[in-house]
């Protein structure tokens, strides 16, 4: 499993890479538009470990942000699932906040939170929580009549139970979304770092862009891809374990 995801990533990366090289050599572009092999090799040798550390730093924040946004999305999903006014209000709020590009909201976030870990986390979470939210609202607002009927008619139904039933019945879909949104957490963190320019690989990418150094960016993308793949593999394994434990079908 681990094996497959990684080599599939490698394939994809090298397909993309080959495409770039193809463009370069067929259009005869010079090294400053698209760097050549030697330059990329040099960037790799020089920055590999530095960037790996940066990516790991980013990954750590991304995992935190991912957890945070799973919690946020679950919370908003639970409230937003209500058909009463407050539910729809929360849903609208969640949608509207998401409709704002982070670049526009970032200055306000920095004013209010300063530029510590908290803003980095918040931005990461904002980017990845929304897809989660969407699925969770979709799943939690759709009744599973055959199971819920008993609890409804014996007046045992409460929101926790309802959420549990619907989540459990849609475990597979939830897992897909949670695993998938991990990559968004990664993106969110990188964007936050890019904007806040503090630490992590987002910061390095910003510098590389400032220095117009595509070779470095290619190295960074490689490392991001590898580390994200490993995180995904881990999450999938975790999901499988959970499924086994609770014996979901």
């Amino acid at each position: 499993m681990l094996h497959r995801r990684i080599y599939q990533f490698l394939m994809i990366y090298f397909i993309g890479f080959a495409g770039l090289m193809l463009v370069k050599y067929s259009l005869n572009l010079s090294d400053y538009v698209i760097p050549g092999f030697s330059e990329i090799g040099m960037a790799c040798r020089r920055y590999f470990w530095l960037y790996l550390l940066a990516v790991l730093n980013t990954l750590a924040v991304a995992i935190l942000g991912h957890l945070l946004s799973i919690c946020m999305a679950t919370l908003v999903g639970i409230i937003g699932r209500l058909t009463i006014w407050i539910g729809s209000f929360i849903r609208v709020a969640a949608y509207n906040i998401q409709a704002y590009p982070i670049v526009a909201v970032a200055p306000i976030i920095f004013i209010l939170l300063g530029d510590g870990l908290s803003s980095r986390l918040l931005i990461a979470a904002m980017i990845c929580y929304f897809p989660l939210l969407l699925s969770i609202i979709g799943i939690l607002s759709e009744p599973v009549a055959e199971i819920e009927h008993f609890f409804e008619s014996t007046r045992r139904m409460n929101w926790q139970l309802q959420v549990k039933i619907r989540a459990f019945e849609n475990m597979h879909k939830l897992m897909t979304v949670i695993v998938g949104s991990a990559t968004l957490a990664m993106v969110g963190t990188i964007v936050a770092e890019f904007i806040a320019a503090n630490a992590g690989i987002g910061y390095s990418i910003r510098i590389a862009l400032y220095q117009s150094d595509l070779a470095k960016i290619l190295v960074a993308l490689f490392l991001i891809g590898i580390c994200t793949s490993i995180y995904l593999v881990f999450l999938e394994w975790l999901g499988m374990e959970i499924k086994k434990r609770i014996g979901s079908v």
Partner: protein, 230 residues
């Protein structure tokens, strides 16, 4: 204790055909009663009206002195995270735990206790679901084909057990098995297609309780009446 339906008219939204036209009928006194009728005549619809999940009809449903009306049907499922045993234990009030064990035993559910619901056979699912309803507070329990996928020997055992344990409750048993209905039920409400008048006919069943034998002839007479009425 009385269930009374008066002048019920109903058509499903968006549907052209009436389900009920001026339907009136009543069930008095506790007992194991049947709701009978050909497929598609409206038994499930009526059950939902009595239990309150369909409300947009004209006419009146009166359930005097019956505060707890429960409706159970054969497609229900248990939550997937519990074994049958855990679920039953959880939804049974502690004073009823011995009753629970009694039911599990006589419904033949012991081999299922450690399984998840999805791992049961259809008949096992039926029985498990019915069991949990019997452990709730109810004055009237409507069982919509709740035993449709259970073999006849087990079914007979179950019905007799229910009748013995709950003599003072009211049951409305929906089934397509004429013998069964005629044999075990006290009052049989036969629903008929909406262009017949009256739309519901009430017959007397043999109300067999497992002790006094019933006359073969009476039973056959009763079955004939039912078939003719439907």
């Amino acid at each position: 204790m009385q269930l009374e339906l008066k002048d019920i008219n109903y058509t499903y939204p968006g549907s052209a055909r009436n389900v009920f036209r001026q339907l009136s009928c009543q069930v008095t006194a506790p007992g194991f009663h049947a709701l009978f009728g050909p497929s598609g005549v409206g038994k499930t619809t009526l059950a939902k009206m009595i239990s309150g999940s369909i409300t947009a009809f004209s006419g009146a449903v009166r359930t005097d002195q019956m505060t707890h009306v429960l409706y159970t049907y054969n497609l229900e499922r248990l939550p997937g995270w519990h074994s049958v045993q855990d679920h039953l234990t959880q939804i049974t009030p502690p004073p009823k735990h011995s009753r629970m064990e009694e039911l599990v035993d006589s419904f033949g559910l012991e081999p299922c206790l450690n399984s998840r619901f999805a791992q049961l056979s259809l008949g096992q699912q039926n029985r498990t679901n019915l069991t949990r309803y019997l452990l709730q507070d109810f004055d009237l329990l409507i069982m919509d084909e709740s035993l449709a996928n259970v073999d006849e020997i087990t079914k007979e055992k179950i019905i007799l057990k229910i009748k013995a344990l709950y003599p003072d409750r009211c049951f409305l048993y929906i089934s397509h098995n004429v013998v069964e209905v005629a044999k075990f039920c006290k009052q049989i409400l036969v629903l008929r297609s909406y262009h017949k008048n009256p739309q519901a006919v009430s017959l007397q069943g043999q109300d067999f309780n497992g002790r006094q034998p019933i006359a073969e002839k009476d039973l056959e007479q009763c079955m004939l009446e039912i078939v003719n009425a439907a």
